[in-house]
């Protein structure tokens, strides 16, 4: 064992340290299409103090550190581009404290979406968080850190908008509190009324610090939940339909999808509208309001509410929706990646036409998936392709299609979400130079030795 290995093994314990081929193989990859890069070491710490020590070793030895949740961003964010130490955060999975009346929960940096959901259901059944549809193993902190979206995004914004504070470990090994918790014992805000420092860490993919705690805002959980699907053959009307729906302020979540299979979905655009209520009357009132808001489209025959087959409803109402993960096996190959730029809702028709064009050009299975952010303030449009991991040609074609998506998205005024390294560089090239200068200054100051997930947001 080399000295670094010995130091790391002493910090986390030998059982939670590895530099074996099995771990370096697995942790070099994620389930997406990015090329692998092997780490030198993989460690699984139990507490923030261990992370601090790991960071100090890395800083001293100038080795890269890459924090990892479940690796489900699919865009290679946890792949150690320059080797070094991968820190698997998932052993730090405690739920630390719930403040029911203030509706927030503090969790550790490796706590999974599934844990929190199950914990709240059992102990605080009137509270919920904004859960994404990535698999339940995805971590809260990583999802927040990449500006993920979830079931409450249409109401309250990105999942990163719904946090009430952070604890981070800096490249120096120091622990820093971010938000109201830095002055008050209470975690009720990620920044306001102080200068909001959360932006130094959110969206940076671990390149400025490691999130070891996050306070997540919780929201009322109603007893009942249902879904309606409004379908249209006119993609150009979708933005107007969404506008009317968001005007009602009655809807929990709005997801739009279009895909060629199964046959029930062919050729149409589907607006899945989720509603919640504590009573039948509340639920029915919201349902009626949503239906009425789209009535003019029904009258003009431009859209209608489909009958949701009984077997489909439970699948759609699951949280997280396991069917989203099943998309990976459409080509019997376990592969799924999507580019999901954040973009204006009015661009929906262009995006919807683009994915069909690309799927045809590159002969790929696809699903166009959009989630509305805020009251039509923006949307995440996911150009999702499914591929067979054992078919290198299909994987290449998928990469090409995604490359074209990236170019298209930028031209259409979109901003890359959980950008791959290539997309990061494309964004950097297009970015306002002063903004870029600011990013460079932040990165250089927070990570002078360039050890925090290097290769990401690298501004040259």
């Amino acid at each position: 064992m080399d000295n670094i290995a010995r130091s790391l093994a002493m910090i986390v314990g030998e059982a939670y340290f590895s530099n074996q081929p099995e771990e370096t193989y697995f942790y070099a990859r994620d389930p997406g299409l990015m090329p692998p890069h092997k780490p030198d070491y993989v460690v699984i710490p139990k507490c923030v103090e261990e992370i601090q020590e790991i960071v100090r070793v890395a800083s001293r030895e100038k080795i890269p550190i890459v924090p990892m949740g479940a690796g489900l961003a699919l865009t290679g964010l946890i792949i150690p581009l320059k080797g070094g130490i991968v820190i698997d955060m998932k052993r730090m999975n405690r739920i630390l404290k719930v403040n029911e009346k203030a509706r927030h929960v503090i969790v550790e940096g490796g706590t999974s979406q599934g844990f929190l959901k199950a914990y709240l259901e059992k102990n605080y059944p009137r509270l919920r968080h904004s859960i994404p549809d990535s698999p339940a193993t995805a971590t809260i902190a990583a999802n927040v850190m990449i500006h993920g979206q979830g079931r409450l995004t249409q109401q309250y914004g990105f999942n990163s908008d719904m946090i009430a504070g952070l604890e981070v470990v800096l490249a120096s090994g120091e622990v820093c509190k971010i938000g109201s918790c830095t002055v008050s014992p209470d975690w009720f805000s990620k920044g306001a009324p102080l200068p909001d420092l959360s932006g130094l860490f959110l969206g940076w993919f671990g390149a400025t610090g490691i999130i070891t705690k996050v306070a997540v805002k919780l929201y009322p959980k109603k007893k009942m939940r249902d879904v309606e699907i409004f379908i249209t053959d006119r993609e150009d009307l979708v933005p107007d339909m969404v506008y009317e729906l968001t005007h009602t302020e009655m809807v929990e979540d709005i997801n739009i999808f279009s895909q060629p299979k199964p046959m029930i979905f062919k050729d149409n655009h589907h607006i899945a509208i989720f509603i919640t209520g504590d009573t039948d009357e509340e639920l029915e009132f919201k349902r009626k309001t949503a239906w009425y808001s789209l009535d003019r489209f029904i009258k003009s025959k431009d859209g209608g509410f489909m009958g949701v087959p009984p077997v489909m409803k439970p699948t759609l109402l699951e949280m997280p929706q396991r069917s989203v993960s099943r998309f990976a096996d459409v080509k019997k190959g376990g592969g799924f990646e999507y580019s999901g730029p954040i973009i204006m809702v009015e661009k929906y028709p262009e995006c919807a036409r683009k994915i069909v064009e690309l799927a045809k050009k590159y002969d790929l299975g696809y699903s166009g998936m959009a989630r509305i952010i805020g009251r039509s303030h923006a949307m995440m449009y996911g150009f999702a392709f499914t591929f067979n991991r054992a078919d290198p040609d299909m994987m290449d074609r998928t990469r090409e299609a995604l490359r074209e998506v990236s170019e298209f998205a930028l031209e259409a005024g979109g901003v890359f979400w959980k950008a791959t390294v290539e997309e990061q560089q494309m964004a950097i090239e297009k970015m306002d130079p002063n903004t870029l200068g600011l990013m460079k200054m932040i990165k250089e100051n927070l990570d002078p030795n360039g050890i925090l997930n290097p290769g990401n947001w690298e501004v040259i």
Binding site: M263, K301, D302, G304
Partner: protein, 344 residues
Amino acid sequence: MIALKYDENLCKTCPTGDCLVKCQYLDVDKKAAVEEMVKIGQGADSFVLQDCVTCYACEEYCKRGNHPFYLITEKREEKGILTSPRAITQQWVHIGEPQGKYRLGDIKERVLSFGFMPEFLQWVKGKLFEDVMPSFIFGQEFFCNVVYIHFANTSIIKERLPRIVDNIRKLGVKEVVFVHDECYAAFAHLAPAYGIEVPFKSVHYFEYLYNRLKALKELIRPVNVRVAYQRPCSSRLSSDQHHFVADIMELIGVDLVQREYQDDNALCCGGIYAMAFGYDLAHDVQKRNIDDMVEHGAQYCVFNCPACQSAIGDKVAKKGIKPIHLIHLCRMAIGELGEQEGGC
């Protein structure tokens, strides 16, 4: 060429105009009824072509066999008058498209047809069916396609139905017991109306169940519940079979409540209305129908059609009425299902 057998003179000389007079959605007297139907037959415009909600009932109301609803549908299609939003129609056309994913049991000369209703794959079990099962057919290749008359699209029926007939014929089948009411209607009512030959005998599962129950009479224990019957739209096309509902209920000791919306005056489940027209009509029809069941003390709502059961099963349950398919009720009667197990 497949064409509807319609006789203009039958409408012109109609003594009642019942097709539109009895319509639950239009307010029309006999004179206007005859006038409008004649106009429609001649290819002229009529408010009926806009306002008809596709409940199928006029096919039953017309005692002259002149197919008023099929005519309305033909003319709507000719004129490009949509009933439903385009996307809904498109979706249903896709759903019915044969995919090569059909299922065949152990095919004999007599088969049970499940159409394209996957529920029947789970529900059709037990002694009642053991003289035919496991001889069954299921899939879009055996789908009756009648539903497209809701969508003002008879072209697709003319295109697909002959192929469906052929698919069944090719299996060497001589008799088909249709478990889906609308499938029976396709071959026993719609096909003849369009001059499509059907080279096998069509039996409605009501008749089949009634005969099986009689054969298994010693197993029957009266179920002793008060039930409301939810009559599907397709039953208007198989009205000669409707009497079996009361016959079966009597045989199995069930009190079929007499209510306002029954028989001729039955209200459909409203499932299509919701997709086609929006919130109000569907909910009004469903509310009146279910309130009627509650008012008359129904404990169960017995369904004939799984689509009706999807549309309002939950709603009747919320009113304390147990949704249950006729098959399950009959299985309960012969002791194969407990009260907890019957139903969707």
